[in-house]
Symmetry: none
Subunit: 405 residues, 2 copies
């Protein structure tokens, strides 16, 4: 039996609280040029004190040697197999959920860009000069007003940042097998929405009509005079956290993609700030509403991607400073790990195992004295697939029934 199916079979409810703190890209490497990692060098008195009463180990994000993107990395942490085609979350859905929109099983979502085309209908700027978000909102309001009289479908348009928006078709009977209209280059016209299967023809035709209508509304705009659609998608068939693990789950993430993945897994996306010290108070305010709290700290990954070890150290020290506030909530289980490593020498995501800390009254207090890659290698939890972490968290929370008599 798959691990996730076994967990679903054994999951039970109780009054515990589980916190999963994802320090995006936290893992790093020791190399000839960088003999110590950010975790080695950072001053983390609170994290180290926590480590001394916890069990350490490591997670392997997707598979040995495989470097995950952020989507697959998080799906693994949430217990899914990101290599399963069923778990492929389309960009339109990620964007919609990331903006906090609710999506039903039958709804269709696409990412939209405002763009500029010339008098001949050829694109001159695929991002409409990155118009300000306020201008985007004004345009979206006009489009939404116009489309409210569109009778062939229930269309919802929501502004994102700068030139970005999300288009959602509510209702049913749609197919997501429609190609992008963004030609990915300028000097050519936008593409018509092409069906990739015969079943998708009606959806493609419908999208063509909607695009034509939108283009009519914004035809005289100086910059944003056309639209491009990408990543047409429907919700993947991921089992949802409340059904799967019997957890009321809240996602506290400052960035759209992570909110989107969490939303697709059945977590409620709670609006919150981008920094850990902003996120923790929001968690506190919602402490009674959830059993499971996914907290996402983006900045460690950003620093790693920039190859900036110093910045990564600072992020970790900032998290450490606010950690006591989180501990004051007295979660039954607190896990700290990353969705992947982002070693500064690589300035990119990597495949290296990610340090993991699990704190609970029954976690097994091992001999690890601090939270670093090297120390975690020797911890009691060993090195496990990230997709098995949920089993460990549920177990530590007493939320898994005994298997067999």
């Amino acid at each position: 039996m798959n691990h996730i199916d076994l967990l679903a079979r054994l999951a039970i409810e109780n009054d515990t609280r589980i916190v999963l703190l994802v320090l995006d890209g936290v893992g790093d490497i020791r190399s000839a040029d960088q003999p110590m990692t950010a975790l080695d060098r950072a001053e983390l008195p609170n994290m180290d004190a926590l480590a001394r009463g916890s069990a350490l180990g490591r997670t392997v994000p997707v598979a040995t040697g495989v470097t995950p993107g952020s989507g697959p990395g998080h799906l693994s942490l949430f217990g899914y197999d990101p290599t399963d085609p069923e778990a492929d979350i389309g960009r339109g859905v990620l964007e919609a959920l990331g903006l906090g929109l609710k999506m039903g099983r039958a709804d269709l979502a696409a990412r939209g860009n405002f763009a500029t085309m010339d008098a001949d209908g050829n694109l001159t700027d695929r991002r409409a000069g990155r118009i300000p978000t306020s201008e985007c909102q004004r345009l979206v309001d006009s489009l939404q007003a116009d489309l409210s009289s569109f009778e062939e479908a229930n269309v919802e348009i929501v502004a994102g940042e700068e030139h970005r928006f999300v288009l959602i078709l509510r209702g049913g009977g749609y197919s997501a097998d429609v190609a992008d209209t963004d030609p990915q280059k300028i000097g050519v016209p936008p593409l018509a929405p092409q069906p990739r299967t015969p079943e998708a023809e009606p959806t493609a035709e419908l999208l063509a009509k909607i695009i034509a209508r939108m283009n009519g509304v914004i035809a005289n705009e100086p910059r944003a005079n056309t639209v491009l659609l990408r990543g047409v998608a429907q919700l993947p068939h991921l089992p949802q956290f409340p059904d799967l693990y019997k957890l009321r789950a809240g996602a506290f993430a400052g960035y759209p993609l992570y909110r989107g993945v969490a939303g697709a897994c059945g977590m409620e996306v709670v609006p919150c700030g981008k920094y850990f010290h902003e996120i923790v108070p929001t968690v506190r305010e919602n402490w009674s509403r959830f059993d499971f709290f996914f907290l996402h700290v983006k900045q460690a990954d950003k620093a790693g991607e920039d190859g900036n070890l110093k910045a990564k150290i600072e992020v970790l020290e900032q998290v450490d400073a606010a950690l006591p506030e989180l501990l004051a909530l007295e979660p039954t289980v607190l896990a700290i790990t990353g969705d992947h490593s982002t070693p500064a020498p690589l300035a990119a995501h990597s495949w290296h195992p990610v340090p993991l800390l699990v704190h609970s009254p029954v976690c097994f207090v091992d001999d690890c004295q601090e939270f670093t890659e090297a120390v975690a290698t020797l911890g009691h939890l060993g090195t496990l697939p990230a997709s098995e972490l949920m089993g460990l968290l549920l177990a530590n929370a007493g939320r898994l029934a005994k298997f067999g008599a």
Copy 2:
């Protein structure tokens, strides 16, 4: 998705060089009678220096507790699942590839022995008194000359060592489901080639005609007056290294079986000597021709099989002495491990995990100070299935694209 399928999907080309040095049977055990292993006792200054700048760990050859033969042990290291029936490489194919012969998908190969039978047609020696290789070559030349006029099939016969030869049928329409003609005992006649399925009947009949014709040619030989065929086989459907991993792969192995396995995986078998100090110069000569270099050192296994710890130590010290020559080539990634352990106290292959060293600029320099079984247990790479090693090597070479956005 299977690990190997995932790697195939993500593999990309670049200019790196990967060296996989297999010290056959290198792993050993500490026991009451043998408190230190060969790696513990050997003086390995170069290996230890390498270890101090590398990541260590362990490979599990096939599965926990399972002792592999040489074929499965190597298939695992090359990323395949040796328990998959599709990965079963017949002995005829191993022998043919081991002799450096090319085999097409439709070709059929069998191992042959010259043997002695008496006037009644009963076998008296299944190896024809182990005739010298030169005599084998003379006989094979006569047989090949005769069979060149055989019209029903394109037959190729190639001499091996002593009484051994390989028979290949070129072309198509054959079935490998034909039983051995070697009765595995003397005092009885050779068996007729029996089809194991109805589809194999034409092939069995064809082989019977070829055997009859061969027996006619050598009927008056004093010792080698008949032939026995074993291991009738066709190439297994293993995905090939160039397609699978986008690697031009060269095999540098002194013994036929290892050449055969490597050849079946799509590596080019490069003629070379049997000892590491002979192999390295051949690698150097071919450095520009390949991306991946499989180097095989047999003698550690031989010493283990003989229960000769002292000999095993000497083999390791010989390898260590020539290691700088290999390092001078500056491979991007160098991995050292074994296909299995061959503990001297067991005088046989075993299931024990095998120490692994991976050296690259991004490997994670862990705290391991030497290359031994006990130290490797604490390394950053952890303990992984041997079949996942290729993922690690490709990742360290930057040859795997990121999985997902």
